[in-house]
Every structure is written in C-alpha cells, then in structure tokens.
C-alpha cells in the first residue's frame, strides 16, 4: 500500500497547481500519515474497530489519486424534492457545483483558493491523509447578522466508475457574529467499495447558530469517515444530528470546543443498522470556560449481525465551573448476533459542575409487546410501534421543523 500511496501522492502534486505553501502543507501531512498509517485498535478512539481490517475486508487495495480536472456528471444525482434548498454537489471529493440561489449573494463568500493559515493541529492520521490528498480547500463564510433563508444541502456522491478509491474532502465554514446556517449532508452513492473521508472545520462566532444534519440512509457498500471540528464562541449554539444507517462502515467524529461563555453543543444520533453494518459515533465535547452546556443523546436499533459503537466524552477543564453536561445512550439489540459497545467517558477537573451519563442496552421489552398484542396488534406491528417511539425521542430533539419532517419521512417514523 505504501508504494501506491507514494505514487499517487507524487501524481497529485504534479498534476495540480498547488502553491509552495500548499505543497509544503501537503508534504508534512503525507509524511505524518505514512508514519502512523490507518488507525488501529491500539488507539483509544479506535478500541472497537480496526480500520485497516475493515478496508481490507470491504474494499481490498485502495488507490488514492483523484483527477480533480475531470468534469463529473451531476444531473443523475437525485435531489431532495420535499424542501427548497441551496446546494453543493460533490463527486469523488471534488466540488462540482455550488449554488446559493435562495440567498443574498453578497452575504456569503466562497473562497476556493487556500487562503489564510491552515489549522495545523495534529488531529489524527485520517485528517493527515485528507489534507495530503484533498483538492484545494473550500471556505464558506457567512457574513455578520445573516441567517440563510433556506438550508444548505451538501450531496456527497461518487462517480459510477469509481471503485477501490479513497476520496477526500475538506470544507471550512466560518459563521460570523449572529449568523445562522442549517446544513444537511446527504450521501448518494453511485458506486461501491470506496473509502470516503470528510473533514469539516467550523468556526462559530459570537451568537451564531450552526445546525448540521448528517443523513446516511441509502444502502451502499462504501466505508466512510467524517470528522467535524467545531470551535464555538460566546453564546453560540451548535446542533449535530447523525442518522447512521446505510453504509457498510461509517464513523462520525465530532470534536467540539466550547471556547465562549454560555455556548452550548448538542449531539444527537440514531443508529439504525441491518446486515453486517458497523457504525460508530465518537464525540468529544470540551468545556473550556464557565457556564457552558452540552447534551448528547444516541439511540440504536440493531438487526442481524450489525454493530454499533458510541464513544462519548465530556471534558471539563478546571476553569469551566458551572458546566452542565449530559449524555445518554440506549440500544435495542434485535438479533442475537448484533452488538453494542459504549464508552461514555467523563473527564472532570472543576468541582461546581453537573455532569452525568447513562447507558443502557438490551432487548425489546416483552411486557410492552404483550401489552400491545393484547390490544390487537400482531407481533410485527407491536415491534414496529415500539421502535418508532424509541427513535422518535431523538428525532424530537431536532429543532428545525422542516428538517425534522424530512427525517421522519426518511425513517418512516410517524408520530
């Protein structure tokens, strides 16, 4: 694999016109990735899965070069019809279309050149891989006091012929003071056996609101990894919702730094898994100043040989007095071969805090099924109704009505 990596990296550098600064940045990241390789079980964050093994068994040998000059067809991609939206269409890690037709054009700025200093933090080897191979970064800036009228939908798609390929995408978002963005990620896979690596950077200024909904519903054989890095200032709110269902493997990582007072972060997720799918959510909420709040709720319904992992962490630094942190995960195992692993973690250095977590996993409650069946439902209906209610809890946490309905329809969950 190392040979392939080196060849593809050289080709990538040669074919596209990167500035010296960009080249240097890519080279450092590439070296770091070569050193570390794909994450394995030795890393605490990957305790329950070995990415190397997952790639080997689901994909085989990967290639890393992507032709960013090639025009990809986008008219075949099925768009959401239920709601009006702005869109960004991505094929194989390349941004094919950016369309903000519902917005005031002067309020949104899209930088495609690599502009300011990049964030140089060494996060993990997959981010290094992303930085080394992704196209020029795209930065979307929402100007002060502007709320987008319609949500922005990012379609992640793969080309029909793309296979055994690693595609990388990085987008940076900046929400200036008092701005508001609703962002939906939707996966539309047209081919199989690829490894998608997505890295978002969010800077959320004073009093801004970010809502990010990730929807992975359509069944596909791709392996996916997504990393959200969120930095929040005073009074800001971030809301992340993850519907994790369709892909073969999907790991969502959320890192959220609460840097300003009275900022709050919400992470909600649903694992709705079937077959041999293996999905994970890893959250890292860092309470770094006083009076911040976080809330996490993750529910799982696991069929057949599926496996879900939830690793949620709340960190409270010694300055962060009056922190309110809460975390809950529930799982229903429907098949004897399904598996749920959780690692809800608290790391606390301040005393005046209220932090708690809860986790439960088990089978459907036989008494509830009995109750429903005694009222005339058959077993299947009773089971469906109970799961419905179970998942509805999380969906009700979505603060945006339009999007809530969209997700309800997608999941077939009724009130």
């Amino acid at each position: 694999m190392e040979e392939q990596l080196k060849i593809d990296f050289e080709k990538n550098l040669k074919d596209f016109s990167y500035s010296d600064q960009e080249k240097k940045f890519k080279e450092t990241n590439f070296k770091e990735f070569l050193k570390q390789g794909f994450p394995n079980r030795k890393l605490e964050n990957w305790k329950f899965s070995d990415l190397n093994q997952i790639i080997q068994s689901n994909i085989g040998e990967l290639t890393f070069y992507n032709d960013y000059k090639k025009e990809n067809q986008i008219d075949k991609i099925e768009l959401i019809s239920e709601l009006e939206h702005n869109k960004i269409i991505i094929v194989d890690g390349k941004i094919e279309k950016i369309d903000f037709k519902f917005e005031d054009q002067d309020k949104i700025e899209v930088l495609v050149e690599q502009g300011e200093e990049n964030i140089r933090e060494n996060i993990n080897s997959l981010i290094n891989l992303n930085n080394a191979f992704s196209n020029k970064f795209c930065k979307i800036i929402i100007k002060k006091n502007y709320s987008l009228k319609k949500p922005l939908v990012i379609y992640h798609s793969t080309n029909k012929n793309t296979q055994f390929k690693n595609t990388n995408l990085r987008i940076d978002f900046k929400l200036n003071e008092n701005a508001c963005l609703r962002l939906i990620d939707i996966f539309k896979d047209n081919s199989e056996k690829n490894f998608l690596n997505i890295y978002y950077n969010f800077e959320i200024d004073k009093s801004s609101i970010l809502k990010n909904y990730k929807i992975d519903k359509s069944i596909n054989n791709n392996v996916k990894y997504s990393y959200n890095n969120v930095k929040q200032q005073v009074n800001s709110i971030s809301e992340t919702f993850i519907l994790s269902s369709g892909s073969k493997f999907f790991k969502n990582e959320i890192n959220c730094d609460l840097l300003g007072q009275h900022s709050s972060a919400f992470v909600n997720g649903i694992f709705d898994l079937d077959d041999e799918n293996h999905h994970e959510i890893k959250s890292n909420i860092n309470h770094l100043v006083e009076n911040t709040k976080s809330y996490q709720l993750v529910k799982s319904v696991l069929e057949k040989k599926s496996k879900a992992v939830y690793q949620g962490k709340i960190f409270v630094s010694s300055e962060a007095q009056k922190t309110d942190g809460y975390q809950l995960s529930n799982a229903i195992l429907l098949s004897e071969n399904s598996e749920f692993n959780a690692k809800p973690e608290l790391e606390i250095y301040a005393d005046d805090v209220k932090c708690s977590h809860g986790s439960s996993s088990g089978s459907l409650d036989e008494n509830s099924i009995f109750y429903l069946m005694s009222r005339g439902l058959n077993y299947k209906e009773a089971k469906k109704l109970l799961i419905n209610g179970f998942l509805l809890d999380v969906i009700e946490k979505i603060t945006d009505e339009e999007i809530k309905n969209l997700i309800k329809n997608l999941l077939g969950v009724k009130e």
């Binding site: 605490e44 305790k47 010694s318 007095q321 799982a331 195992l333 429907l334 098949s335 004897e336 071969n337 399904s338 598996e339 749920f340 692993n341 959780a342 690692k343 809800p344 973690e345 608290l346 790391e347 606390i348 250095y349 301040a350 005393d351 005046d352 805090v353 209220k354 932090c355 708690s356 977590h357 809860g358 986790s359 439960s360 996993s361 088990g362 089978s363």
Partner: protein
C-alpha cells in the same frame, strides 16, 4: 472533644516504623534472587519452575502505560524482593517465641495477635514485609476442616490444592505486574473452605510494609468449595517514608458450585505527605472466578491510602446463574491518585453483576473510575447494573469516569449511570443551620454519599471505615 480527635488523627498514625533487624535477599531482580526466595521457603521444584517461567515471560512484557496516573519509572533492579525479620530465619513455633518487637508493632496497629485479647471472632493472618508472622484461631478453624494459613505453609502442607488452583484465575502471562508477582511472590494467605461449610468467623489478613527499599509481593488464594461461604478482610498500613514503595499483589478467588466469597479491603497504605512526596504505589491484581453454578463473589473496597492506587478487582462469571458484585469507595486527597474500578465478564447464562462505585477527590488529587462490562454472546439473560458517582471538592482535583460497555447478547441488559457533582450549598447550609460545623457537615454528607458501600462491609469494620472516610478528607474543606 471532636476537635482533639481530629488533631490526633490528622497525621497518618500508622506511620511509625519498627526498628527490627531484617534479613534480605540481595538487591535486584534476576534468576538468582528467585532461586534464593524459593530456596529459603523450601519450595518444591514445580513452584520454582513456575516462578522461572514467569520470569522468562516478564523479560518480554512491557510495563503498561495507558493508566491515568503517571509515575516516574521504577527501577526494578534497585529493590529488595525479600525481607523478613531476622528472627524468622528459623520460623518460631508459637507466639511465645515471636520477637516481642513484632507483637508490639501489631499491638500498636490495633491488631493483637494474642487470641484471648481479641474481642470479636476474627481470625488474622499477619504479614510483615515478605513473611507471614502469625495466624490466629487456627485450631478453631481446623476443626471444621477450614484451611487458613500463609501460602508458604500451604505449599508445604497442601501442595495438591495449591498446585491445582494457583495461577488459574490470574495466569502467569497475564500482564506485567501480575507476572512480576508470579515470579517473586513471597507470602500471603491461603484459604480453603471445604464443601458445605459456612466459615464461622471473619478471616482477615493484615499487611504491613516495614523495611525500606522493599517491594511487597504477596499472593492470596481463596478457594470456596461447593456450597461453602467465607468472608475475608484485608487491611494494610506502611511507615512514613520519603521514597515510593511498590506493592504488587495478586489475589485469586475461586468459587465452586453454590459457594460464596465476600472479599473486603480497607486499604490505608501511607499516602505520602501533603506535597505528594513518598507513599505506596498500590498496583494490585485481584480477580475472582465464579467457576461453578450459582456461585457468588462480592468485592468491597475502601481505598483511602496509597500515593497511587491502580487496581481493578474483577469477576469472571463463568458458571450459570453466578453473581458478581463490586462496591467501592475511593477517596483521594492532597496529591494522591487513583485509577480503580472493576471488570465484570459474563460468560455463563443468567449471570448477574452489580457495580456501585463512589469516588471522592479533594485537594490536588486525581481519581478515575475505569470499568468493563462485557456480556459475551453465550451469556443469555444476563444483567448488569452500574452506578458510579463522583464528588469533587475544590477545582484543583479531577474526577473521571471511563466505562467500557460491551453487549453481544440480545437477551441481556446493561444499565449504566454516572454523575459528577459537588456537595450542594443547600445541603451544607441545612446541616450548619442545625448546629454542625462545616467539617462535620461535610463528613455527614460524605458518609451519606458512601452509605451504600459502607453497608456492605462486615460490621466491625464498617465503623472503622466510616471514621477513615472522615479522616481522609480532613483539611479539604473551607
């Protein structure tokens, strides 16, 4: 009155050392030293081979480093692995022959070895550095067929039992400290309860580290045969010294069909001074195996001492319908650090486990609860309940919770909850309004916080533990 009591207790009262000539193995860790230990204990060949096998394994093992409390590297060649009072070269036959200085030491620690002087029916095995000094109430126990002696004695008198069970729960190759212990263990207790016998009294071991530059590596093996019951308690203290001393013990429990073992620990090793200098490194491996059907193992621990506590008393629930329990209070103050918790491994059907952990950190200390609940695919209808609460006092200390929860069986349930908070102003205000001073109020609230665990201790020790909880937190309020 109470103020005076506090004044008396503020200092670590077990910090004295006994000036007694000791007889040591040469410094360092090598084959010679292991042979020396084995030779002096007149061990059979199989045990020496077993030790050497562990030593071979130790050469390739690496010291683990994933734990939260970090410590300076230990030089294993700079330790004495065997230390015994000189008068022990020829083992005294009875208490009359025992060095009076030793008797005095235990008297001072509040553990009279003279049977008549004991008020309550507790049989004690006293371990001083590397050797067992005396075991009380032996005769009473022997009548019922109970074997309670030091492990060296058991090797001589009951080799078949030792050979059969030693290393079956904690294998030779387990991890660095367990393997180190297997190679150089010196003494400890051995308990065998025959089928159908309910042990009439509490059995207890009292560990004391006296000599400097020594590591204490004791090994305890408790076997409860079919349908038997035993309650066992261990206590520990050490003199105040500036250097850090290593304590790496292995404890193995085996419960056969319908047997029950209750293991309680009141750990009060020297925690180091206010600036975090000195103190014991308490790196202990404790594991119980519920081998038979309907067996039960229950761990209760009150951890107040040690500079670093790093241990996870675990239960392997192999037999169907077996039960594992873990009750823990861990208190850290000043610069103490603790990384403790449990592992519940469900293998058999209908197995149940319960974890109650209470952590209190004050001063500059750091406390971690780390636990594993693993329900394997075959453990149908199993249940686990975990509750871990932490209390913080001041913003210089830390409290962390790191549970690992693995459920691979759809007919089993796991529930876990954890909270972290401080003592609320309302509670304090309420108590103070009724005439308690702030320290008393905190003591009362903390005792309430720990009550669930304290209740699990044998009655005689519950009182002592309650006091200890209060003492450990002195100076952390206000």
């Amino acid at each position: 009155m109470r103020d005076k009591q506090i004044e008396d207790l503020k200092d670590y009262k077990y910090g004295f050392s006994t000036d007694i000539e000791s007889f040591k193995a040469p410094k360092g860790l090598n084959e010679e030293v292991i042979k020396f230990i084995s030779n002096i204990k007149k061990e059979p060949k199989w045990l020496l081979d077993w030790r050497l096998k562990a030593f071979e394994r130790l050469k390739v093992l690496k010291e683990p480093d994933w734990q939260k409390p970090k410590y300076p590297k230990i030089d294993y060649q700079d330790l004495y692995y065997y230390s015994a009072p000189k008068s022990f070269k020829d083992k005294p036959k009875s208490l009359d022959e025992l060095d009076p200085k030793l008797l005095e030491t235990y008297q001072k620690l509040g553990i009279p070895l003279n049977e008549q002087k004991r008020l309550n029916g507790i049989a004690v095995d006293a371990v001083f550095d590397s050797v067992s000094v005396a075991t009380t109430f032996k005769e009473t126990l022997t009548k019922q067929g109970i074997i309670f002696c030091s492990i060296s004695e058991a090797v001589q008198k009951h080799p078949e039992l030792v050979k059969k069970y030693l290393g079956t729960v904690i294998p030779l190759t387990d991890h660095f400290f367990a393997t180190l212990n297997s190679a150089v263990f010196t003494d400890g207790s051995f308990v065998y309860i025959p089928p159908g016998v309910r042990c009439p009294m509490e059995l207890s071991t009292y560990f004391r580290i006296n000599a400097s530059d020594t590591g204490q590596f004791e090994r305890t093996l408790i076997i409860a045969d079919k349908g038997s019951y035993v309650s066992y308690l261990e206590g520990c203290t050490a003199p105040m010294r500036d250097e850090n001393q290593l304590h790496a013990a292995n404890v193995e429990l085996i419960a056969l069909d319908d047997a029950e073992i209750k293991y309680s620990t009141v750990q009060n090793w020297y925690p180091g001074d206010k600036d975090g200098k000195g103190g014991i490194y308490n790196f202990v491996t404790k594991r119980g195996l519920c081998k038979g059907k309907n067996s039960k193992i229950s761990w209760t621990q009150v951890e107040t001492g040690s500079a670093i506590t790093w241990k996870y008393p675990s239960c392997i629930l192999k037999g169907d319908n077996s039960i594992g329990e873990f009750y823990s209070i861990a208190i850290t103050n000043n610069h103490q650090k603790a990384d403790t918790g449990t592992k519940m491994i469900h293998l058999g059907k209908n197995t149940k486990s319960k974890i109650i952990s209470k952590g209190i950190s004050a001063g500059f200390s750091d406390m971690t609860y780390r636990g594993l609940v693993d329900i394997s695919p075959k453990a149908t209808n199993s249940n686990n309940f975990t509750q871990c609460d932490s209390l913080l006092m001041g913003n210089k200390c830390g409290a962390h919770t790191v549970p690992y929860i693995k459920n691979k069986n759809s007919d089993s349930n796991i529930a876990h909850e954890a909270t972290t908070s401080k003592i609320s102003e309302e509670q304090l205000h309420y108590c103070q309004q009724r005439g308690l001073n702030p320290e008393e109020a905190v003591g009362l609230i903390v005792n309430g916080f720990c009550k669930e665990v304290l209740q699990q201790l044998p009655m005689e020790f519950a009182v002592e533990a309650q006091k200890l909880v209060g003492i450990s937190l002195e100076g952390s309020v206000g």
